[in-house]
């Protein structure tokens, strides 16, 4: 799922110090799973912020509220009652959550407390790896289930480039070359043919805001006239 990482404390503090009452909104979705923005992180951050502000004799105080998911307005209904009490909002959700809150409360300034990093996998507790860049045109089917956009530093579709060094990417000492891995895996599966063909220029789908309409549900929203 979406993986995020808390912003540096100072950055968060500076963003909200001009406001007196700030509501820090946590999210029970992806950011909770990746230990970045669940209720626990909200409480921790608020404790630190409030301690810092009172230490500096600043009036700013931060309260907490965590919702199921910030990416669906249905889960924001409970917020309607509390938000009017605050002059600033802070969200620990991914960028999508922050924006939906901003959309719902257009008169309230909102500040993100995390940086949304990637669509990734859980490696160990607290360690996550990016696995998808949401390009919108999945090619994993012919690359042995290894994403060339995410894993190849140059996002090549006809790799590997000449910089690959004994299976290691040219940019780092220990990052495995995605295309070496793709080749090895396809060879193992007797599918090297898949990459012998030239993969033509990518039809990028992530250049404008995309609207996803699941076919089964499209009918509901079509013009009835």
């Amino acid at each position: 799922m979406v993986k995020a990482k808390k912003k540096p404390f100072e950055e968060i503090k500076q963003a909200i110090e001009g406001y007196t009452r700030v509501l820090n909104i946590g999210c029970g979705g992806c950011v909770s799973v990746c230990l970045a923005g669940g209720q626990k992180e909200v409480n921790l951050l608020n404790l630190q912020l409030n301690a810092a502000f009172s230490g500096e004799n600043k009036a700013t105080r931060v309260d907490s509220f965590t919702v199921e998911r910030q990416c669906n307005e249905m889960f924001l209904i409970d917020l309607d009652k509390v938000v009017p009490r605050y002059d600033g909002l802070m969200s620990m959700a991914c960028g999508a959550g922050v924006q939906l809150i901003a959309e719902r409360y257009p008169d309230k300034p909102i500040f993100p407390a995390v940086n949304t990093i990637a669509v990734g996998v859980d490696r160990q507790i607290g360690i996550y790896e990016e696995r998808c860049r949401a390009c919108g045109e999945c090619v994993l089917g012919y690359t042995g289930g290894i994403c060339p956009i995410t894993r190849c530093a140059k996002g090549l579709f006809n790799g590997p480039c000449g910089g690959t060094n004994k299976g290691i990417c040219e940019i780092g000492n220990e990052i495995p070359c995605a295309w070496q891995d793709i080749y090895e895996r396809l060879k193992e599966q007797n599918r090297v043919d898949d990459i012998l063909k030239i993969k033509t220029a990518m039809q990028w789908q992530n250049q404008t805001r995309r609207m996803i309409v699941q076919d089964e549900y499209a009918g509901r929203y079509e013009d009835k006239k």
Binding site: L44, L47, I175
Partner: protein, 224 residues
Amino acid sequence: MYDLVRGPLVWVAFTVFIVGTVYQVVRFYSLSRKNPQFRLIKPTGGPPKKEDPPAEPVLTFGQRLRLSIAGTNPVMTTVTTVFHVLLVLTPFFVLGHNVLWDLAWGISPPSFSEAFTDVLTIIVIAGGVYFLCRRLFMARVRAISSTYDFVILAIATAPFITGFLAYRNIFDYDTVILLHMLAGEIMLVAIPFTKLVHMPFFFINRFLLVHENTFGAGGSRIWR
């Protein structure tokens, strides 16, 4: 009857307790495996960071405490900690118990004064009463309580209650001391095979298993 409870049953109880606990631990080890070693490769690739941000504030001990379970449930945390520590410790330092050790094995471990033990016993019983009240009157605890929970509470506190009664010679001493011994034996037997198994598993779960809330280095084992 008295001889049975004082003699063979003690050994049976200790044996069941030790073997049972060992069994639970061994079973855990056989049903879990070592967490595969994960070597964190610090990605040398990728763009360099702008500049190092100022250091994150370090949590003070007080802040850590407030964020922990002690911060959300201070009373319960205190009571349960004291209760559990005393529950395990007190029996080792009861003079009467240690006299028995002396008689059987010729060893005389250090003992608390009887008056002090009495205080500890009262604290444990008070803890038991607190748990009972929680279970009876707190909605959230009542919601997950069943008869079984009351029985377990009774098993855990019975040795202390009977010990307390025996020390003060309330009711018939012989009967009470018999009950005391029985209660202790029941508790020992119960530990590995009832809810009281949380005694060994507290350590297994919180120190050995890989979990967000593992103490120390983060644990080393995962379930198969």
